[in-house]
């Protein structure tokens, strides 16, 4: 494979991946189990399908103690969300109830589908938006221990059947704005249906989903709906969004992974509007489940990995690894092939340097619905998938699901990055063997030890924490960014690290993958390199900051220069 920046050196060996992942969920005191929702009996026939989302995990240091904490959402009325405070000794304590973030799944309000953290009021404390099949809920972090519901004051009391949201500062005003993706139409109350015609009208080009929403942060805790004004109201059944400056013009763009349709890229026109561009995405209509951003081949670019569905004999939609060629060619180029293209029914994914060798690995969660192992819904699905859209738009037309599985009992994939030699799945080798229905994947250095731990939220099943143990001879460096002119969380800041032949870009994400958000601190593996030549930070405000020779094997806190 010839890549624009030249082929990256093959450094990893599948026989010796250079890391192991150990399931230390119980030892860490994490006992979260997700519960799927139940809906109006009118759609009981396909409830397992409609209710197959909602397990999410997001990372935030909500108490400001320098250690990342974890927030899991639940999706059944009465079942609490969980906020795990990192105690610093390898264990966590669950504090959602006392923080006021537990009881969010209530009749009339909806059930949680995920959460994204960001300091929307720039007070130095991470706030959180919980998106639901139901009303949005915005919580202000009061004192690092308690949260207050400020949804109504913020102007966000909107019913959205949402599976995703991201924070971004699209207009460079230093305040975090909010983009919310919608799945089912927002006039649908899944507990009180007036019609069963709620499903997609095409398996490939559906446009009858909910309308995505963009809220501009006005300051003073107020938000304004600017969706139509900014031109970002896609109705393509978006499951995930991610934001970065893909074309290098200094403004954050929005990338959408859409179910039953092609991906979409909205380019930011200097904060005045967004322009939907083709960028080579329109030619492959698939079932986008998540979008993760990462520098796949150390070209100093943020590429996009979008997961899709594959099932032997029935459907090979194949995952997309889209190399960012926006600055020079105005497009992305899909280079996914071999193992990385087919992971099964793939959901959340994230790029992270799990072995600290200086190249990103990919963790991909898999599996849709695990029920009766002897019964598969794929045959039933194939009956209607090829039919005219009017048939399956009506949930009542679908063959009843019963207790069938649909791409169930699939294991996660851990793709080792071997550069030009391609990606190879080393999941079993490194210790990832669970068969849960994975949904959200988040990465965080939970113990501040220079290792990228993996947290997976599983649908209707227990969450799993995989502790990463990379080869201890390898070096690393991590950055904690504090915005001043930019938003305090530094969401949207991009960091390019240069060390000898290594050049890699990372971004502080305001939500990425599927229903997940990574550690805001940026971790770079260095391999055997013992120094970093320089680091360039592109702050959302437009400020460019250069750090010469930062110290390695530690966290480096960088505050944005005032001018």
């Amino acid at each position: 494979m010839r890549l624009d920046g030249g082929p990256s050196r093959a450094v990893a060996d599948a026989a010796h991946p250079g890391f192991v992942l150990r399931d230390e969920t119980a030892a860490a005191g994490i006992h979260f189990v997700h519960h799927r929702p139940t809906f109006d009996p009118k759609i009981a026939g396909i409830e397992p399908h409609v209710a197959a989302l909602g397990a999410s995990v997001s990372v935030a240091d909500f108490d400001g103690d320098g250690r990342p904490d974890l927030y899991f959402t639940n999706s059944r009325f009465g079942e609490p969300n969980a906020l795990y405070r990192n105690k610093g000794d390898g264990t966590f304590e669950e504090v959602a109830a006392s923080a006021g973030l537990a009881d969010l799944n209530r009749p009339g309000e909806g059930v949680s589908m995920g959460a994204v953290w960001g300091d929307f009021d720039n007070d130095g404390r991470e706030d959180v938006l919980v998106y639901r099949y139901g009303y949005l809920a915005l919580f202000r972090n009061v004192d690092g221990r308690h949260f207050e519901d400020v949804t109504a004051q913020a102007g966000l009391h909107r019913w959205v059947n949402s599976n995703g949201a991201i924070w971004l500062d699209y207009d460079h005003d230093g305040l975090l704005d909010l983009y919310v993706t919608a799945y089912f139409r927002s006039d649908i109350d899944l507990w009180h249906l007036t019609t069963t015609r709620i499903m997609h009208n095409s398996f490939e080009f559906a446009t009858n989903g909910g309308k995505n929403l963009l809220f501009h942060n006005l300051g003073g805790g107020k938000f304004e709906d600017v969706t139509d004004k900014m031109g970002v109201g896609s109705t393509r059944w978006s499951l995930a969004a991610a934001s970065a400056d893909f074309n290098g013009d200094g403004w954050p763009d929005i990338y959408l992974a859409n179910d039953y349709g092609p991906e979409e890229l909205y380019l930011n026109d200097r904060g005045r509007r967004f322009v939907l561009t083709t960028a080579g995405l329109e030619s492959e209509s698939k079932s986008g489940m998540s979008v993760a951003l990462g520098d796949a081949y150390n070209r100093g670019r943020l590429d996009a990995f979008v997961t899709n569905i594959s099932e032997r004999g029935y459907l090979f939609q194949n995952n997309n690894l889209r190399l960012n060629e926006m600055p020079e060619a105005g497009r992305f180029r899909n280079v996914a092939e071999g193992e990385i293209a087919d992971a099964g029914w793939a959901w959340g994914s994230q790029f992270g340097d799990l072995n600290n060798d200086g190249a990103n690995e990919l963790f991909v969660a898999n599996g849709f619905i695990s029920a009766d192992r002897q019964k598969s819904y794929w045959y039933a699905m194939s009956k209607i998938a090829g039919a005219n859209g009017r048939f399956f738009e009506d949930a009542a037309t679908w063959p009843p699901f019963g207790n069938a599985s649909l791409s169930g009992y699939e294991r996660s994939r851990v793709y080792l990055n071997r550069g030009v030699a391609g990606w190879v799945d080393v999941a079993k080798k490194v210790g990832v063997t669970d068969l849960y229905d994975g949904r959200a994947v988040a990465l965080a250095d939970l113990s501040n030890r220079g290792a990228v731990d993996v947290i997976v939220a599983n649908q209707n099943q227990p969450a799993v924490l995989y502790r990463d143990y990379p080869d201890s001879t390898r070096h690393w460096i991590a950055f904690r960014l504090v915005g001043t002119r930019s938003n305090r969380s530094a969401i949207g800041a991009e960091v390019v690290l240069e060390s000898g032949d290594l050049r890699q870009r990372r971004i502080v994400d305001g939500g990425s993958g599927f229903a997940s958000q990574n550690d805001r601190r940026l971790h770079f593996g260095l391999g055997v390199r013992e120094w970093v030549d320089r680091v360039v930070i592109y702050w959302p405000s437009g400020t460019r900051q250069i750090l010469p020779r930062p110290p390695i094997d530690r966290f480096v806190t960088v505050t944005e220069p005032e001018r």
């Binding site: 492959e284 032997r312 004999g313 459907l315 019964k375 009956k383 209607i384 998938a385 090829g386 005219n388």
Partner: protein, 288 residues
């Protein structure tokens, strides 16, 4: 008589002349036109080819194999139109894992070579595309799937293809096969749904999809592999629908069939019934 009436009569006569002229055209040209139309509509509206490299590869392998084998077999290169039809059919129908190209090359080779190898009394028994796809699905379900929903589930596109398809099927003289199969499919699967106590709509829904358009217009009506005689053709069409219904019934019951049977029951039904019927037909003609 008014001018309007004159005009209408003239238009009607023109249509009749066009229809009569159409009947003199080699049916393969009409079929080639239809499948090209399907390909163009699918690509322009839905970009469903998935890469022109696979189209070029499938066409190249099909035509090269046809040219080579016909030259060896008959000492001359035959008309390559049927190879063209097979190449486009394979491009539309094969959906490989990871964007692999080899299924198009192997499928093209299998399709055309089956015409020269699997023969009885100088006739091939399988529709070439049907043979290739069935073989690939049975042998490599981990690597190959078939078209299931790549036409956007869109009514307008479906209607265009159905209308052109029906007109051309009538012109080629195989409309009775298409209609018999469709009617049998609807009746038998309605009965199956009733027998299983399942809703009818999901069971008859597949016939509205693109895979079935290709099936009813290009596979079961293949002039070289259908039996002789209108009545026998109707009987075989019913038998294919019946076999498909039985396969679906087995899938409904969760019997341990290879994935190919569950994923493409119509193709499997034709692959089983078609050659047997053709063989019996050829055998009958031999002893006549």
């Amino acid at each position: 008589m008014s001018d309007a009436t004159h005009a209408t009569a003239a238009e009607r006569n023109a249509l009749v002349r066009l229809w009569q002229r159409g009947s003199k055209i080699d049916p393969r040209y009409l079929i080639a036109f239809l499948i090209t139309l399907v390909l163009a509509a699918a690509q322009l509206r839905y970009q469903m080819v998935g890469g022109y490299d696979r189209l070029v590869l499938a066409l190249a392998v099909c035509t090269a194999t046809e040219a080579l084998l016909s030259w060896f077999d008959r000492g001359k290169i035959v008309n390559l139109l049927s190879a063209y039809i097979s190449g486009i059919s394979l491009t539309l129908l094969i959906k490989p894992q990871g964007g692999a190209l080899w299924p198009f090359a192997l499928g093209g080779f299998l399709a055309i070579s089956s015409k020269y190898v699997l023969r009885y009394r100088d006739n091939h028994l399988w529709n070439p595309t049907n043979f290739a796809i069935t073989a690939l699905l049975l042998a490599a379900p981990d690597r190959v799937s078939v078209l299931s929903h790549q036409f956007g589930n869109d009514m307008a596109t479906n209607l265009v293809i159905w209308i052109f398809g029906l007109v051309i099927a009538a012109r080629v003289g195989v409309l009775h096969i298409t209609l018999t199969y469709v009617a049998s499919f609807l009746l038998l699967n309605t009965a199956r749904a009733a027998a299983l106590g399942q809703p009818v709509l999901p069971e008859i829904a597949p016939i509205t999809g693109p895979m079935y358009q290709l099936f009813v217009f290009f596979m079961i009506t293949d002039p070289r592999t259908v039996v002789r005689g209108r009545r026998r053709q109707i009987v075989v069409a019913v038998l294919i629908a019946l076999m498909e219904t039985l396969i679906r019934f087995a899938s409904d019951k969760g019997w341990p069939l290879p994935t190919a049977f569950n994923a493409a029951p119509a193709f499997l039904a034709l692959a089983i019934v078609g050659p047997i019927a053709k063989w019996l037909d050829l055998r009958r003609l031999r002893y006549k």
